[in-house]
C-alpha cells in the first residue's frame, strides 16, 4: 500500500512557517481577512476610516465642550488631533510616487469638510435649541435686605448664571407681613431698575404681581436689579421672586 490514498496538499507559497506549526485559519476567517486586505488597497475604505476617525474626534470635542470643558483646552486638543490627521495625508500621498494610485485628491479632500458637517450641523442645531430654551432662575435670586419692606424701601435682587441670555422675565410677589393688619397688598406697585446692561436706568413701574421684562444685553452673568416698593402708608410687605427666566 502506498500513501497515495491520502495525499498531503502542498504548502501555499510563503506560508511555510504556518504549515510548520500546523496553525491554519478557518476558511471563513481567512476568506474575510483576504477580503479586508484587498479592501485596504481600495481608497474608499481608507477614506471611510479617516472619516469615522474625524467624526469621532469632533464629536468627542463637542461633548467635552458641552459638558463644560474649557474652550481653549478643547480647541487645542482637537486642533492637534486634526493636525495629526492632516500630517498623515502627505504620507498617503507618497504612494503616488511609488507608482500606485494616489488616495487623494479628490476623495480625501471631501472627508474633512464632510466630517465637520456631520458633527457641526447637529451640534449647531442642538446649540440653537438649547439657547432658545428659557433658563429657569426662579430659585436663584437673593433679595437684600431680607426683611419686611414698606412704601419707598428698596431691595436689591441679584443672581448669577453661567448661561447668560439677553432678556430676563421676572415676576415678584408681595404678601402681607402682619396678617392681622388690614389687607393692603393688592394696590402695591414695584419699580424695577437695572443698574447695568442694555436696559440700564430705565425704571419700569407695574402692579406688584405683574411680569417685568428686562433687557440685559449680551453676556451678563451677574444680574442685579433694584426693586422699589410703592405701597400704602404703614403697609409692611414681604417681597419674593415667584418666577424668573432668562431667554432670547
Amino acid at each position: 500500500m502506498t500513501d497515495d490514498a491520502n495525499p498531503v496538499p502542498p504548502d501555499p507559497p510563503g506560508d511555510a512557517a504556518a504549515s510548520g506549526t500546523s496553525l491554519r485559519l478557518p476558511a471563513w476567517l481567512s476568506g474575510r481577512a483576504v477580503r479586508f486586505r484587498d479592501a485596504l488597497t481600495d481608497d474608499r475604505l481608507l477614506a471611510l476610516l479617516i472619516l469615522v476617525d474625524l467624526v469621532t474626534l469632533l464629536t468627542s470635542a463637542s461633548i467635552w465642550l458641552a459638558l463644560g470643558g474649557d474652550a481653549g483646552v478643547v480647541g487645542v486638543t482637537a486642533g492637534a488631533l486634526l493636525a495629526f490627521v492632516a500630517a498623515m495625508l502627505p504620507l498617503i500621498r507618497r504612494r503616488d510616487a511609488e507608482g500606485e494610485r494616489p488616495l487623494w485628491p479628490p476623495l480625501i479632500l471631501v472627508v474633512i469638510p464632510l466630517a465637520v458637517l456631520i458633527v457641526g450641523l447637529p451640534a449647531w442645531g442642538v446649540r440653537v435649541y438649547l439657547d432658545s430654551r428659557p433658563v429657569d432662575m426662579s430659585h436663584r435670586f437673593t433679595l437684600s435686605p431680607e426683611r419686611a419692606v414698606e412704601n419707598g424701601d428698596t431691595v436689591v435682587a441679584s443672581a448669577h448664571t453661567d448661561d447668560p441670555h439677553p432678556r430676563l422675565t421676572i415676576r415678584f410677589a408681595v404678601t402681607q407681613h402682619n396678617l392681622s393688619d388690614p389687607t393692603c397688598a393688592p394696590g402695591s406697585k414695584l419699580t424695577v431698575t437695572l443698574p447695568t446692561g442694555a436696559g440700564q436706568d430705565l425704571p419700569q413701574t407695574r402692579a406688584a404681581d405683574e411680569t417685568f421684562v428686562l433687557d440685559l444685553g449680551e453676556g451678563m452673568k451677574d444680574i442685579r436689579l433694584t426693586v422699589r416698593l410703592i405701597a400704602e402708608q404703614n403697609c409692611a410687605l414681604d417681597l419674593s421672586v415667584t418666577s424668573a427666566h432668562l431667554n432670547e
Binding site: 396678617l179 392681622s180 393688619d181 388690614p182 389687607t183 393688592p186 400704602e232 402708608q233 404703614n234 403697609c235
Partner: protein, 295 residues
C-alpha cells in the same frame, strides 16, 4: 342565504348599551359642572340676620326702635337687589368671626375691615368704604396737632378692631374697651385724650355730638395705622351668595353710595368738601381685588 338587517342608527345591543352609558355619564358630568353654584343653598332669602354694631352713628345706630346709617342703607339695597329682608342685631367687634362661624349671623356688616387673618375664617365682599385712621378729640383740645403729639397720650380703642393692633408712637397708653360709645363717653369726661380708630367712623360721632355740651372733632391731619377697607363678612364657602353680593355691591357703589354717604355722614362730607368721594369711595374694580370671590 340569510341577511341580517339593522334599522338605520341602531347597532348591536352591546354597542348600544355602551353608547347609552357613556352618554349618561357625560350628562351627569356636565350637569354637575353647570350646577356647581346653583345647587348650593343660598343663605340670602327671606329674613337674613345681619350682625351689626348698633352704637355707631353714621354707620348703624339703633335708636327709638329704628336702625339708621350707611350700613343700614347698604343692607336694604342689597336686600332689594338679591331678594331678602335684612334684620340687624348687635355684635361687638371681637365676636364678629364667631357669629358667622356659629351661624348666628348670615352676614356681618359692621365696619368690618378686610384683613388676611380674618380671611382665614370668613369670606369678604367689598370694600364698600375706604378710610384712614385718625384721632377724635374734644373740640377745644389743643394737645394733638401732629403725629408726634400722640406720644404720651391716653388713647382709647376697641378690642378686636384693627386700631387696637395698629402701631402708635412709643409712650402712648392704649385703653381697650368693648365699643366706641364707651370711648366717646370717656373722652367727653376727660378720662382719655383721644379716641383712635377709622376716620370715617369718627365723623359719625362728630355729627352725633355736635350739639352736646362737649362737642368733638377729628384732629386735622393727624393719622396713624393703615388704611381700612370695610367689607361684608359671610361664612366661608358660600360662593353663590358671595357672587350675588359682589354684583349688587358693584351697582350700589355707582348708583347709591354717594347719596347715602351725604345723608348719613354729613360731617365727613363737610370735612373734605370736593374730595370726600376720592378719599372714602372704593373703586368698583377694588371688588375684584379684595372680595373672596369674583363676579
Amino acid at each position: 342565504m340569510i341577511h341580517t338587517t339593522h334599522a338605520p342608527g341602531s347597532g348591536r345591543p352591546g354597542v348600544r348599551r355602551l353608547v347609552r352609558t357613556v352618554a349618561a355619564l357625560l350628562l351627569i358630568t356636565v350637569t354637575a359642572c353647570v350646577s356647581d353654584d346653583k345647587d348650593e343653598e343660598s343663605g340670602l332669602r327671606d329674613t337674613v340676620f345681619i350682625g351689626g354694631k348698633t352704637d355707631q352713628p353714621g354707620f348703624n345706630l339703633h335708636a327709638a326702635h329704628t336702625d339708621r346709617g350707611l350700613e343700614v342703607d347698604l343692607a336694604n339695597y342689597l336686600g332689594g337687589e338679591i331678594g331678602f329682608h335684612p334684620k340687624f342685631h348687635d355684635v361687638i367687634s371681637a365676636n364678629r368671626e364667631q357669629e358667622l362661624k356659629e351661624g348666628s349671623s348670615a352676614l356681618i356688616i359692621a365696619t368690618y375691615s378686610i384683613a388676611p387673618d380674618r380671611e382665614r375664617n370668613v369670606d369678604f365682599v367689598g370694600p364698600y368704604l375706604v378710610t384712614g385712621q385718625g384721632f377724635l378729640i374734644r373740640e377745644d383740645y389743643q394737645g394733638l396737632k401732629t403725629e408726634k403729639d400722640v406720644a404720651g397720650k391716653e388713647i382709647c380703642t376697641v378690642d378686636g378692631s384693627t386700631s387696637a393692633e395698629a402701631e402708635l408712637p412709643r409712650g402712648t397708653t392704649r385703653q381697650k374697651v368693648a365699643d366706641y360709645s364707651t370711648c366717646v363717653r370717656k373722652l367727653q369726661r376727660g378720662a382719655i385724650d383721644a379716641v383712635f380708630t377709622d376716620e370715617a367712623l369718627l365723623y359719625g360721632f362728630v355729627e352725633q355730638q355736635k350739639n352736646s355740651k362737649v362737642p368733638l372733632k377729628v384732629a386735622p391731619g393727624v393719622t396713624a395705622g393703615q388704611i381700612n377697607r370695610y367689607g361684608i363678612g359671610l361664612p366661608k364657602g358660600h360662593t353663590a351668595d358671595c357672587k350675588s353680593l359682589v354684583r349688587a355691591l358693584r351697582t350700589y357703589l355707582t348708583e347709591e353710595w354717594a347719596a347715602d354717604v351725604q345723608a348719613q355722614l354729613p360731617a365727613l362730607v363737610h370735612a373734605y368738601p370736593g374730595d370726600w368721594e376720592n378719599r372714602f369711595r372704593p373703586d368698583p374694580e377694588d371688588l375684584d381685588h379684595y372680595s373672596s370671590c369674583n363676579a
